[in-house]
Amino acid sequence: MLHVQNLTVAFTVYERGLAQKRLTVITDLDVEVQAGEVVAIVGASGSGKSLLAHAILGILPHNADLGGTMTFEGEALTPARKEALRGKQIVLVPQSVASLDPLMRVGAQVQRAAQLSGQRSRAADQAVDQAFRRYSLPETTRQRYPFQLSGGMARRVLVSTAVVGSAKLVIADEPTPGLHPQIVAETLGHLRELADEGCGVLLITHDIEAALQIADRVAVFYAGTTVEMALASDFAHGATALRHPYTKALWRALPQNEFIALAGTQPNPDALPDGCLFADRCPLVTAACRVARPESRSLRGGLVRCIHAEG
């Protein structure tokens, strides 16, 4: 349904004085989402993941430059088409309650989302009731204001804005932080249901455990690019089934595994090394790694962007 090839998102921002510099936050990122599938994009927080969501929806700030190609159901996603589709076929589930208008009742906001996705007001009204019942939100929620909602209720309201329409692709941007584990599971369950009903779900998160609960495939995001596209099941077989050294380090860092953190930090977006971005921290690093960016190649049913990874 959604194909993204070597997407690049860069900002021209100001340094201290008057000079400008470019931050390439996303470099040649590839990802694709099929209908009925949940694809998780997992990466350290602050590495520009939610910018991917904004890029797909076309709501980047205007000092951003966009490169690479994006297609949706076979057709190129031009800015005009993005504008036509967003809210109707491509919907966003944002992270915080701040995305809700503080002075407007929650019911009205969700109904507005429904109307924007093409439904007339009477049908939209029913859609809202249906969605609230589906996510077992009490009847009074419609009259409530955003600041009166608990974390979980707010999350369910945000998800219901995606449900009221006839969306084909749902992009969930960090749905899990700051919630009680039981509610996290519940939210992820809702996303899974959407996928099972035929939507494509792009789950952007830093919480690898949460991703593994519902994702079919996991794209590992490092310094602005996808270093590996693995099946969720690969993670079940331990580090050996994984391909890229960074994914292995991620897996090892999990508490239920060896709980060893990886040394060093991600490269700075305005001074990306020429070669492999993971070179400085990679145990398998060789001279060849630093010459050119490794291409993304298929390996054991997944993709990896490392010349040393082998079967």
Binding site: T12, L18, R22, T24, P61, N63, A64, K82, A271
Partner: protein
Amino acid sequence: MSQSSTTPATTTLSSSGKVARIYPWQMNRRQKTVLTIGLCLGFFALALLGGRIIGDAGLSTNLPSRNQAPSLAHPFGTDWLGRDMLTRTLHGLSLSLWVGLLAATFSAVIGAALGTIAATIGGWVDTLLTWCIDVFFSLPHLVLLIMIAFAVGGGTTGVIIAVACTHWTGLARIIRAEVLQLRSAPYVQLAAQFGRSPTWIACEHMLPHLVPQFLVGLILLFPHAILHEAGLTFIGIGLSPHLPAIGIILAESMRYLATGYWWLAAMPGAALLIAVKLFDVLGEHVRALIDPKTRQS
């Protein structure tokens, strides 16, 4: 804030990460901002020193050459006493700029401070301050101005203090309403739960949000203070009416509007308008620089 489609900026990607510009003179947004701020300050300096630069030869009366249209000899024309309007306008600007600036800043600061205090501390303090605002609002403008200006001894200081003490109420109410809304923002309540004192919260969290409204209020007060200076002068409490101050020149030129001597009103009016517009541009760019949302664009 971006338009619906992301149009690539006019700069090309360079491998080194530094921005390569297509044309050397093309500045990025921030350089333009700083340049404009420089220009504005330059103009104000010119306005302040203009009076001295042009000297006051043109200020003496010259009855035969009165009411002359703008010409090379007198770019702004001459007034009903034959005085050169350009000299008078420049002197007027340098005089009024101080009065307008000081009066506007004082009253804006008082207004913002009291507005914030009223909303943050709330309770009886808020009731007391809103009550004071009501008292100041209901006393006719002019009465207060006359009394305070007279009590302080008239002249420019009288005008500044009078305007400062009477014009803070409008801004105080707007800032109070703004802070009332901010007070219920999550990050403010969070800071409160962390045990921060209301004053710390007010300074750290609320003031940055108030800057735009504060600047708008300040910029609007600037010409208002100048026009009040003229009002007081004609009652005999401000300056002597023949001293060139923009407000006075404009008020006096009012009488000649019907006579068709348009330049008496148009030229000083334009000068004041440019001064106010530049204040707006200055304010707008300073806000663009310090407001995180617009810093990067």
